[in-house]
């Protein structure tokens, strides 16, 4: 059995060749045995659903009647549904606001944290705390804070004479309110990754810049940020991939309202499938979403590879 683990030799004597072949077969079988859990789980719950999602997008199915192939009808129905355009625009708004509000924040936080010597551990624990709060609990908490009357935010803003603001109840501010919560929930992880990257910048670079007369700002701008560029690119893509799939925030905060202002693509897929029973249309919209995400993931993997081989 131990022979199974030998690497195949490049030149082997004819006598042992048949024994090796036998050993090779046993290695394949043993490999199959150990891969069985992965093959079962990925086969049934990953590969098949991915393939099947593609198939269903060309079918009409309601779980009762026999399946009918309908060609591109599902895609036509989805693309002519005014809600889809609205959901795409809303999702882009969530992604865009998330970038404007949520993307620079962890970089600034990490930059400050990188200068801290004492209590550095306290900063790291506190910045990461929101990340460990389960999303549903975090969103329900924020919903309570956003309460127009007795909510924490309007009460605090009222102290300085601002508001009251409608937050989740107005189509103008609802999406912004979702983004603020999502930024709060996601900032800590990114900040710690930036911090790790910042503390890895070679000290000689800063010393050289300083001896050339560069002040703190120019060292940040011309030394630190260029060194961080790969990490910034990766986290930008990860944030795009994550925020395009936004679901829990609009589902719990607003159920897509008010007046459809927070209806996102994934929420619409959920409605098509689990409220209307339109599995074909849900699958068609999923395929469109999957194409966007796969392109972003491919760019992400390319970046990771070029980054790790550097």
């Amino acid at each position: 059995m131990t022979a199974l683990l030998e690497r195949p030799a490049t030149t082997e004597p004819v006598v042992v060749a048949s024994r090796r072949r036998q050993a090779g077969l046993r290695r394949e079988l043993l490999g199959l045995l150990f891969l069985a859990p992965a093959l079962v789980v990925f086969g049934i719950f990953s590969w098949w659903p991915i393939l099947r999602g593609l198939l269903i997008s060309f079918q009409q199915t309601n779980l009762v009647d026999p399946v009918v192939w309908v060609g591109l009808e599902n895609f036509q129905a989805v693309l002519s549904d005014p809600l889809v355009g609205k959901a795409m625009a809303n999702t882009l708004l969530f992604v865009g606001l998330g970038l404007v509000i949520g993307f620079p924040a962890p970089i600034v936080l990490a930059a400050v944290m990188s200068t801290v010597r004492r209590f550095a551990g306290v900063y790291r624990v506190v910045v990461y705390l929101p990340v460990v709060v389960p999303p549903v609990v975090a969103i329900l908490l924020w919903k309570w804070f956003y309460d127009p009357g007795t909510g924490l935010f309007n009460q605090l803003l009222g102290l300085v004479g601002l508001g009251p603001y409608p937050w989740l109840q107005s189509p103008q501010t609802a999406m912004l309110s979702l983004v603020l919560e999502a930024t709060w929930a996601g900032m800590g992880g990114a900040a710690l990754i930036y911090l790790a990257a910042m503390t890895g910048v070679p000290a000689e670079l800063y010393e050289a810049a300083e001896s050339d007369g560069a002040g703190i700002w120019r060292r940040i701008w011309h030394v630190m940020l260029p060194q961080l560029r790969p990490v910034i690119g990766l986290l930008l893509l990860l944030q795009l991939i994550g925020t395009i799939q936004v679901f829990t925030e609009p589902y719990i905060f607003t159920q897509g309202g008010p007046d459809g202002a927070t209806l996102t693509v994934l929420l619409l897929i959920f409605r098509y499938a689990f409220q209307d029973g339109q599995y074909g249309q849900a699958a068609a919209l999923s395929v469109l979403l999957a194409i966007v995400l796969a392109v972003l993931s491919a760019v992400y993997l390319r970046l990771t590879r070029s980054w790790s081989t550097k």
Partner: protein, 284 residues
Amino acid sequence: MTTFTSSNDLRRPGTAFALRAVQVVTLLALVAIGIGPLYWTVKGAVSPPTEMVTNPLRLWPAEPELGNFARAFTDLHVGRYLANTVTVVIGSWAVQLLVAMTAGFAFAVIRPRFGRYVYGAILATMFVPYTVSLVSLFLTVLEVNLLDTYWAIWLPAGANAFNVLLATRFFEALPQELYDAAKVDGASTWQLLTKIVLPMSRPVVAVISLLAIMHSWKEFIWPLVVISDPNLQPISVALANLVDSAPQDELIAAMAMALAPPVLVFLVLQRYVVAGLGFTGVKG
């Protein structure tokens, strides 16, 4: 540890003061946004309902009461939902670990010839987040009759390509001489796994466990879809359903109990969480 400020900068009193001021302000802001909401939850949970309406900004209630916690247990069945969550987490963790370790061992140590095709097919699933196959995954689970059972959460959780990648990379990085030496001593594959590889795998087991537990405790959309029986729902799904019917003070007590376990676990293991984040690069 390097940073963009140097000891020369800090010798200038103005710069040193400004830097210190920025650090303190940042810490205060972090405490406000990091600890503030958690504190406010606890405060809300022990406040009498009338006080939350009449004096919502009070920092601590005049007469704190613990009755909300008890009522959250008896009226809202928070205990049962927490136990359900623990069941979901343990099962998902076990399946993820089993799949990742066996697959990693097969790819990195046994190295069957067909292995690289399977490895490629597993890594390819990283391009397709499970949210986009939500509908077809639901239909599959429906057909294999797993709806309203925890297997519907446990088994799909195992199909995690990132775990397989971590385990394979880890086993590949172990010194090859170890395997050779074990072979000379006449060890079987099973002994190689249990006596040599697994005892050395504690770092990768720890990272996969941490990611698996944190992720499955936070999971919402999939349990929402496959567990409709209120007696089986984990706390996230239950809270989302209770929000419109439960009294607010009991609900806040229930939320405090739902966030306490992950926060406490994080505070105990924070070193490893922060280190694990560095190890995995980007997965939170």
